[in-house]
C-alpha cells in the first residue's frame, strides 16, 4: 500500500472537524471536549486527522512538498486513533489511521526522518528492543520466577512481555506480580526470556516497514515454534500490533492474542482468583488507546468504493477492550471506580504513543498532564491503566508536575485484592 492508495479516503474528507473533538454525544464539558492531543496542543488545522489528510493529498497532487516541517507535523501524533473513531461516528468511508500510517511510511521512504526515531530504530536493530537496552538482559525481569522457556519446551500460553515491561525498572514489580497471579490461578506460562524481541509494532507506526516486518515475522515464527494456543501480553502496544497491525501487514499468528486484563477477567469470573482483601480506594480507569480502539481487529482491506462498505465492515473503535478491565476493577471489594469524561473508544491518549515519547517528550508529558488533570477532577486517588507506556509517561508527568494521584496497573490492584505478598 502507499499514500496514493488512500487518495479517495483523503478526498472524502468534508472538513467537518469532527476529528478534533470527542464524539459530540459524549461531550460533557468544555474543558475536556478535545480528543486529539496534537490539534489541542499545536492548533494549526494540519495537526488534526483532517489536516494531515489534506496535507497528504496536497503532497500527492504535487501542490506542495513533503518537507522537514511537514514530517515534523506528521510525527507530532500519538497514532492514538481518536480522530478515526470520531470521524466514523457518522460515516465509514475514511480510514484516517491507515492514511496516517501511510504518510509516515512515505516520510521514511523520502528520507524525511526524525533523528530521535532513527536512533530508536538503530537501537532496535542492534538490541531488539525500543529502549536500546542490552538484548542479553531482556529476560532479567523474570529472575527467580522459574518460568517455562519456550525455546526448550512447548507451552499453551506464551507470554510476550514487551520492551517497556522487560526493561523499565520502575514497572518491573507489575509484571512480576502478573506472573505470580497467574501462578496463583494455577496457570503456567512460558516466555522466550532473552530471546524475546520487540513485536515491531512501533517500528511499523513510525513508518519503518521493512524493520517492522522483520520483527513481526520473527514474532510469528517464535509463536509457531512455541506451540502456544494463546499469545498473552500485558503490553497494549503489542496487543494492538497483534490484532491490527499484523493482519494489516498480512502476517498471521498461530495463537490468539490475549491481553493480561482479559485473562484476569476470566480468572476472576471463573473463581480461579479470589479478590478478598478490600481496597478502600476511589480510582479511575484510563483506557489505553492501544488496548481500546487501536486493538480492534483489522477487517481486511476494502476494494472499491468505501461507500459500499457496511458499518460492520469498518473499524469504528467500538470493539476494543473496554469492559474487561472495568469488570476486574468492579470485582475488587471496597474499590470505587469513577469514570473520567473521556473513556472507552473516545478516551484521551496518555501521550506516549506513535513515537512521540522519543521525539517530542514535552508534547508527551503535556498530553499526560491533560489526562492527569481530568483524572484528578474525578476525586480519584489513583489512575489505573493497563499499558506500560501509559504508566511510564504518567509517572514522568506526575513527578514533574506535583500531582497527588497514584499510577497503578490493573495487575497491581488485583494483586493487592488477592493478597499477594510484596516481594522483597
Amino acid at each position: 500500500m502507499s499514500v496514493a492508495d488512500y487518495r479517495e479516503d483523503m478526498q472524502g474528507c468534508v472538513r467537518c472537524s469532527s476529528c478534533k473533538w470527542v464524539p459530540f454525544n459524549h461531550m460533557k464539558s468544555h474543558r475536556f471536549s478535545g480528543n486529539c492531543p496534537a490539534i489541542s496542543r499545536f492548533n494549526f488545522h494540519s495537526y488534526s486527522g483532517s489536516g494531515r489528510m489534506n496535507m497528504g493529498l496536497s503532497v500527492l497532487e504535487g501542490r506542495s512538498e513533503l518537507s522537514e516541517k511537514v514530517s515534523e507535523v506528521v510525527y507530532s501524533c500519538q497514532m492514538c486513533g481518536a480522530c478515526d473513531t470520531a470521524c466514523k461516528s457518522y460515516r465509514e468511508i475514511i480510514d484516517i489511521t491507515e492514511v496516517l500510517l501511510e504518510l509516515r511510511a512515505e516520510c521514511v521512504e523520502s528520507g524525511q526522518l526524525m533523528v530521535e526515531h532513527m536512533m530508536t530504530l538503530d537501537a532496535l536493530k542492534r538490541e531488539n528492543n525500543m529502549l536500546g537496552e542490552p538484548k542479553a538482559e531482556r529476560g532479567a525481569w523474570a529472575a527467580g520466577l522459574d518460568l517455562k522457556d519456550i525455546n526448550k519446551e512447548k507451552v499453551d500460553v506464551m507470554l510476550h512481555v514487551g520492551c517497556r515491561f522487560s526493561y523499565d525498572p520502575e514497572l518491573r514489580g507489575s509484571i512480576r506480580r502478573a506472573v505470580r497471579l497467574l501462578r496463583e490461578a494455577g496457570l503456567d506460562v512460558g516466555t522466550a526470556g532473552a530471546e524475546e524481541s520487540c513485536c515491531g509494532g512501533r517500528a511499523f507506526e513510525l513508518g519503518y516497514r521493512g524493520e517492522a516486518r522483520n520483527f513481526a515475522d520473527d514474532m510469528a515464527a517464535r509463536v509457531k515454534a512455541s506451540g502456544a494456543r494463546y499469545l498473552l501480553t500485558p503490553c497494549s502496544d503489542g496487543f494492538a500490533a497483534f490484532n491490527y497491525l499484523y493482519p494489516l501487514m498480512g502476517i498471521e499468528l498461530e495463537a490468539e492474542p490475549v491481553h493480561m486484563v482479559q485473562l484476569l477477567d476470566i480468572l476472576i469470573s471463573d473463581g480461579k482468583l479470589t479478590l478478598e482483601n478490600p481496597l478502600d480506594m476511589r480510582v479511575t480507569y484510563h483506557d489505553p488507546c492501544h488496548l481500546g480502539r487501536m486493538s480492534e481487529p483489522y477487517l481486511g482491506g476494502w476494494k472499491g468504493d468505501k461507500r459500499d462498505r457496511l458499518r460492520s465492515q469498518s473499524r469504528t473503535g467500538r470493539f476494543g477492550i473496554y469492559e474487561e478491565p472495568r469488570r476486574v476493577l468492579g470485582a475488587v471489594p471496597g474499590l470505587e471506580l469513577v469514570e473520567m469524561e473521556r473513556i472507552k473508544e473516545y478516551s484521551w491518549c496518555c501521550g506516549a504513543g506513535g513515537g512521540v515519547y522519543d521525539a517530542f517528550p514535552e508534547f508527551a508529558t503535556w498530553t499526560a498532564r491533560e489526562r492527569l488533570e481530568e483524572a484528578t477532577t474525578t476525586g480519584a486517588s489513583a489512575i489505573v491503566t493497563a499499558c506500560p507506556w501509559c504508566e511510564r509517561v504518567f509517572t514522568d508527568a506526575v513527578g514533574e508536575n506535583g500531582f497527588e494521584i497514584k499510577i497503578l496497573d490493573v495487575v497491581d490492584v488485583v494483586a493487592r485484592a488477592v493478597g499477594l505478598e510484596e516481594e522483597e
Binding site: H30, S33, F44, S46, S58, R63, R91, E92, R318
Partner: protein, 545 residues
C-alpha cells in the same frame, strides 16, 4: 496558487501572535484549502492563504489586522472553518484561524446569556449551559459549528429554531475588530453595561454587522459575542453509549418525540401554523421518510431508489411529515403540549406517532437530536451534499420551493450529474412559533466524481433563476455571480453594502469576495439560453442605478 508573503510582513505577523502561532509552510497552508463543502467549482481546493495565524486574544487579532493594513495584505477569519466560504478569494490573504480563542467568558444564568469566543463550538456550549438548566441554539450543520460564527457571520437556522430562533436573532453584545484594526463594542458592552443587549446603550450596529446571511468573513473579525440562552428543564448530562448509529441514552423525561404525517400540503401547513399558535414545540423539522433511509441506511437506500413504487410509497403516501420534540418544564406542561399536538394533528387529518416508548427510536432521537449530531449522516449516501436555500419566508413558500427544486435537480440526476436521491429531500425548519420558516432541498453527489462536480455551477445558476422567478433567495447569495444577479432585483442592496464596507474598511483589507464582490456569469459554463433567460429576468425585474 497564492503569492508568497514577504519576510518583513511575516516577521510582523510572528511578532503579533508569537512565532509558534504563525505559519507559511505550503503543505500546512494547503490544509486550510481543502474545502469541498459548498464549493461550487470543480477544483475542491480553495485559494491558498499566504500565511495562517493563530491569535490568542482580541488584541492579537487587532495586531494582525494592523499588520495587514501596513503591508497591503488582506485577511479572512474563520472559526471552525467548515466550508469553502472560509477560503480566501484573493491571492494575498492572511487566514486568521481563531482556534486559540476558545473561552466561555461567562454563563449568566439569571439573565440567560452566554458570552463566548469564536472557537467555542455548539456542543461545548450546550454541555456547559445544560448544567445551568439552560440551552443554546445549535445550527442544523451540527454541534461542530461555532455559535459565535453563526450569530455574527453566517446563516443560523436549526431544528430548535421553533423555540430558540435563528442565530442572528440571538446575538446580543458583540466585540468586533474592525478592518482598520480598531476595536468596537456593540450594544451594552459599548458603554460598559454588561453584555445583555445588542442595541445599546452603546453603538447599535447589529443590522450593519449582518443581515440574513452574514458577511462571510468579509467585514472584520468578531472576537466575542453574547448569545441568548433558553430554558432547558432536562438533565445536566445524558449518558449515552455508542456512536451516532448505535447511540443509547433515550429521550429525557422532560421530552416527547413525535413523528406526524399528513398526505396533503394544506393540512401540513395548517397544522404547523396551529402548533405555532399553541406555542408548543422545542424542535420542529420537516424531512420526508425516504430521507431517513438515506441518512441511516445508505446501502438499503441505494437499492430502494431504483424502485419507483417503493419510493412513492415512502414519500408520496405521507408526503408531508414533520418531527417534533416537545419539552416541558413540568409534567403538567408536557401533558398539555402533548394533548394540544394530538388534537391539532387529528383536526388536520394527520397521524401522530410517539417514539418515546420505542427504545431504538428513542435512542436514535435522544442525544442525536438534542445535540443535532444525526444530520452529519447526510454525508453517508453520496459522500457530499449541497442544498438549495430559500429565504426565511411564509410556510407555503417553502413547500413551493421544494417542488421547484425537485424538478431542477431531476434533470441533472437523469444525465448522471448527481446521485439519484429519490425525492425533494427537504430540510424545512420553522422559526419562533412557526410564524415563518426556512427550507433547503438537499441533493447528493460524490465530490470525487468529476461529472458531479461539473453539474454544480450550472445547477447553482438554475437555482438562482428559479429563486428570482419565485422572489426567493438562492443558496449562493453570498457568491459574487449570484450577488450580481440578485442585487438589482432587491433594491440594489449590494451598492449599499459596498458603501458600508468601504466606510469601515478604507484600505480594503477584509477579503470581501463573498460579501460585496461582483462577477458576471461565465458564458463557458452557462448555456446561452439560460444566459438569455437571466438577462430577460434582470431586464424585467431589475432596477438600474
Amino acid at each position: 496558487m497564492a503569492m508568497t508573503i514577504s519576510d518583513e510582513a511575516y516577521r510582523a505577523l510572528e511578532e503579533a501572535v508569537g512565532e509558534e502561532n504563525a505559519c507559511r509552510e505550503p503543505a500546512m497552508l494547503d490544509s486550510y484549502c481543502w474545502q469541498p463543502f459548498l464549493n461550487m467549482s470543480t477544483d475542491l481546493w480553495v485559494q491558498r492563504p499566504i500565511a495562517v495565524v493563530l491569535p490568542g486574544s482580541a488584541e492579537e487579532v487587532q495586531e494582525v489586522v494592523r499588520v495587514c493594513n501596513a503591508h497591503g495584505l488582506k485577511f479572512k477569519a474563520l472559526s471552525t472553518g467548515w466550508g469553502a466560504h472560509n477560503g480566501p478569494t484573493y491571492d494575498n490573504v492572511v487566514q486568521i484561524d481563531l482556534r486559540r480563542m476558545n473561552r466561555i467568558i461567562d454563563i449568566d444564568e439569571k439573565n440567560m446569556i452566554a458570552v463566548v469566543e469564536p472557537y467555542v463550538c455548539g456542543g461545548e456550549l450546550q454541555a456547559e449551559v445544560w448544567k445551568h438548566g439552560l440551552n443554546t441554539h445549535i445550527v442544523g450543520a451540527g454541534p461542530h459549528c461555532s455559535p459565535l460564527a453563526g450569530a455574527t457571520s453566517m446563516h443560523g437556522c436549526g431544528n430548535d429554531s421553533i423555540y430558540m430562533s435563528t442565530s442572528s436573532r440571538n446575538l446580543l453584545g458583540v466585540e468586533w475588530v474592525l478592518p482598520n484594526g480598531e476595536m468596537l463594542h456593540l450594544g451594552t458592552p459599548g458603554s460598559d453595561a454588561g453584555w445583555f443587549c445588542g442595541d445599546g446603550p452603546g453603538p447599535s450596529l447589529r443590522g450593519i454587522v449582518r443581515g440574513t446571511s452574514g458577511a462571510f468573513g468579509g467585514f472584520g473579525v468578531f472576537t466575542k459575542a453574547a448569545l441568548k440562552l433558553f430554558n432547558w428543564p432536562g438533565p445536566d448530562e445524558i449518558d449515552s453509549e455508542g456512536l451516532i448509529l448505535d447511540s443509547t441514552g433515550g429521550l429525557p423525561d422532560c421530552s416527547l418525540f413525535y413523528n406526524c404525517q399528513f398526505s396533503r400540503e394544506e393540512d401540513f401547513i395548517e397544522a404547523a401554523y396551529r402548533i405555532g399558535e399553541a406555542e408548543i414545540g422545542y424542535m420542529f423539522v420537516r424531512m420526508v421518510t425516504s430521507e431517513f433511509v438515506l441518512l441511516l441506511m445508505p446501502h438499503l437506500f441505494k437499492k430502494l431508489v431504483k424502485h419507483r413504487a417503493i419510493m412513492d410509497l415512502l414519500d408520496k403516501t405521507m408526503a408531508y411529515p414533520f418531527m417534533i420534540l416537545l419539552v416541558g418544564s413540568t409534567e403538567r406542561e408536557l401533558k398539555y403540549q402533548e394533548e394540544m399536538l394530538n388534537q391539532i394533528v387529528r383536526d388536520c387529518g394527520g397521524m401522530a406517532m410517539k417514539f418515546n416508548n420505542i427504545p431504538p427510536a428513542a435512542n436514535l432521537m435522544g442525544m442525536n437530536l438534542l445535540r443535532c449530531t444525526i444530520f452529519g449522516t447526510v454525508f453517508r449516501s453520496g459522500n457530499m451534499f449541497a442544498t438549495n436555500l430559500d429565504g426565511n419566508e411564509a410556510l407555503t413558500t417553502q413547500t413551493d420551493w421544494c417542488s421547484t427544486m425537485e424538478k431542477a435537480k431531476k434533470r441533472y440526476i437523469q444525465s448522471g450529474g448527481l446521485l439519484d436521491d429519490g425525492s425533494d429531500n427537504p430540510y424545512m425548519i420553522t422559526y419562533e412559533n412557526n410564524l415563518f420558516g426556512h427550507c433547503e432541498t438537499i441533493y447528493l453527489y460524490d465530490q470525487r466524481n468529476p461529472e458531479h462536480l461539473e453539474s454544480l455551477e450550472p445547477l447553482g445558476f438554475d437555482t438562482t433563476l428559479a429563486a428570482i422567478e419565485q422572489c426567493n433567495v438562492p443558496l449562493a447569495a453570498f457568491e459574487p455571480v449570484t450577488r450580481t444577479a440578485m442585487s438589482p432585483l432587491a433594491g440594489n442592496f449590494n451598492r449599499w453594502q459596498k458603501e458600508i464596507s468601504l466606510a469601515f474598511d478604507p484600505n480594503g483589507v477584509s477579503d470581501t469576495g463573498l460579501y460585496t464582490d461582483e462577477k458576471e456569469p461565465d458564458p463557458e459554463k452557462i448555456p446561452a439560453e439560460k444566459m438569455e433567460h437571466f438577462e430577460w429576468l434582470k431586464a424585467r425585474f431589475g432596477r438600474k442605478g
